[in-house]
């Protein structure tokens, strides 16, 4: 029997739902639920991780993220301005920096800052101990990404804004500070928030610097608990705590993007 186009679309649609439902059922049926919950959802083990999971590990994760973000944002802004400078060597330097640090793994940079620099300059040290090394180690890479984001934001501000500002007698730096940058930052808030999310996850690399009980962050904290309890539940706890940070942030990005979309 030949189906009408409308009937055929309907049949395909229903078939799509049925396939999905069957796939879910197959997975659920095949899983060994007792063993899964024994491995990943042991409430007693999860309970023992608190309050340190929050008061130390989560707090350090957030601290590392914010430190690296502020460092990266500052350096990124400087690089973005250099990238747009009329002075050629500034442009070269910024371009080389951005290409270099976007091309290197964060872990390698972290090693370099944490071990390479102390070996090269044994008589000097990065202030702030692990916090300082993390700030620089993660911030250097973040700066490269943020510089490109900020540059794009500056270039997205219509040219007429600068012309209007200059016409009113503002110098170029004054126009940048009062007129261009405030508008550029509004444009780049969503991508910069994404950068915070990426940085949050990159703080899991910090363990390579050798953290102590007070400087430990979520992933290392969970890894240690995994070793002592020989049970992966701590990993699930850490994962959920990461989501506590990242999910609201991605929600925020979506909200900001929607608002920016309306204003256009």
């Amino acid at each position: 029997m030949k189906l009408s186009p409308r009937r055929r679309r309907k049949v395909f649609r229903v078939a799509g739902y049925v396939v999905f439902g069957l796939a879910i059922l197959a997975v659920v049926g095949a899983a060994d639920w007792a063993r899964l919950s024994e491995a990943f959802f042991r409430l007693d083990i999860a309970g023992e991780m608190f309050p340190e999971a929050i008061t130390v590990a989560l707090r350090n994760t957030i601290t590392y993220t914010l430190l690296a973000f502020v460092f990266g944002l500052t350096l990124g802004l400087i690089l973005a301005l250099m990238r747009l400078s009329s002075i050629l060597p500034y442009r070269w330097f910024a371009t080389a920096y951005i290409e270099l640090f976007r091309g290197l793994p964060s872990l390698l940079v972290l090693f370099m800052v944490g071990y390479g620099v102390p070996l090269a300059f044994p008589d000097r040290e990065i202030p702030g101990g692990v916090y300082g090394s993390v700030t620089v180690g993660l911030g250097l890479t973040a700066a490269a990404y943020m510089a490109e984001t900020i540059r794009a934001g500056i270039q997205a501000v219509p040219k007429g804004q600068l012309e209007a500002a200059r016409t009113l007698g503002m110098s170029h730096p004054r126009a940048m500070v009062s007129i261009i940058l405030p508008q550029a930052f509004r444009i780049v808030i969503p991508p910069l928030t994404n950068e915070i999310i990426l940085l949050t996850k990159d703080t899991s690399l910090v363990y390579v610097l050798g953290v102590t009980a007070t400087t430990i962050e979520l992933t290392k904290f969970a890894g240690d608990a995994l070793n002592t309890r020989v049970n992966p539940t701590p990993l699930v706890v850490a994962g959920l705590l990461y989501l506590v940070i990242t999910l609201p942030l991605s929600q925020l990005v979506r909200g900001l993007e929607r608002r920016a979309g309306r204003e256009r």
């Binding site: 007429g160 012309e163 209007a164 500002a165 009113l168 007698g169 009062s178």
Partner: protein
């Protein structure tokens, strides 16, 4: 001393020569309207006056200061020259009132109270005091352009440049902007206006300048330029602009015998 003295002005963008020898003077209190087809160099001429475009050759003096002199403090000269753009260019992150105060505060270093007072006066002047707290995106095009005029006026300019101020507006919003400009002209403001509003030019201008191909083809009182243009190019332009519905097919190269 003339407010603007332009002599031998040339401007090229790469190989394209947009201005090919312009001589023009604007006297204090004079309203000069520049008309002409697209690409004739009108806007470029205007943008050279406050050095938004760097002239390739020639000299420009504004109120006796040679802006083309490399040692000229261009920021200081620009403070005295208001400019109104086709696209308004209001600062999107600031309210209307802040748009009008920011340059007063940052450039003229006026105190907050004084800047606010002058802003209030100029927003009243353009009929926008009730929109002072609004952001540009919340305003109509006509309101935005009036706010942009108030922003320029707050700097106490001795000269106002208008670069097609009504070309981006919906037709029903053109009138409110022209009304403000007419008022300014009546108050004795020196104005150089690039416009396609022939009725405005005819009524308000002391002098009309017709440009084509990067040169001034003809200039004079509006009654002469519009009433009895001397040059054929002027006549053709005015015919096309003033009577667009009567442009015949033969004028634009359509052949009546049916061949292409």
């Amino acid at each position: 001393m003339s407010t603007i003295e332009i002599s031998g002005l040339h401007k090229s963008f790469g190989a394209l020569e947009v201005l090919r020898g312009i001589d023009l003077e604007v006297e204090p209190g004079e309203v000069v309207c520049v008309i002409g087809p697209s690409g004739s160099g009108k806007s470029t001429l205007l943008r050279c006056v406050n050095l938004l475009e760097e002239p390739t050759a020639g000299s420009i003096r504004v109120a006796g200061v040679e802006v083309t002199d490399p040692d000229c403090d261009i920021d200081a000269v620009r403070r005295g020259i208001g400019m109104v753009f086709q696209q308004f260019n209001l600062f999107g992150h600031l309210t209307v009132r802040e748009n009008v105060t920011i340059a007063q505060r940052r450039v003229l270093k006026r105190g907050r109270a004084e800047a606010e007072r002058i802003a209030t006066g100029n927003l009243t002047r353009v009929g926008l005091l009730d929109k002072a707290a609004a952001y540009p995106a919340q305003l109509s095009g006509g309101q935005q352009q009036r706010a942009a005029i108030a922003r320029s006026l707050a700097m106490d300019p001795q000269l106002m440049l208008f670069d097609e101020p009504t070309s981006a507006l919906d037709p029903e919003l053109v009138g409110e902007v022209l009304a403000v400009m007419r008022g300014l002209a009546a108050e004795g403001m020196t104005m150089l206006v690039v416009t396609h509003e022939m009725a405005f030019a005819r009524e308000v201008a002391n002098r009309v300048v017709f440009m084509d191909g990067g040169v001034i083809v003809e200039q004079g009182p509006p009654a002469d330029v519009f009433g009895r243009p001397r040059e054929e190019r002027t006549r053709e332009f005015l015919h096309r602009v003033l009577e667009p519905a009567s442009v015949s097919e033969t004028e634009i190269g359509v052949r009546k015998d049916g061949s292409a």
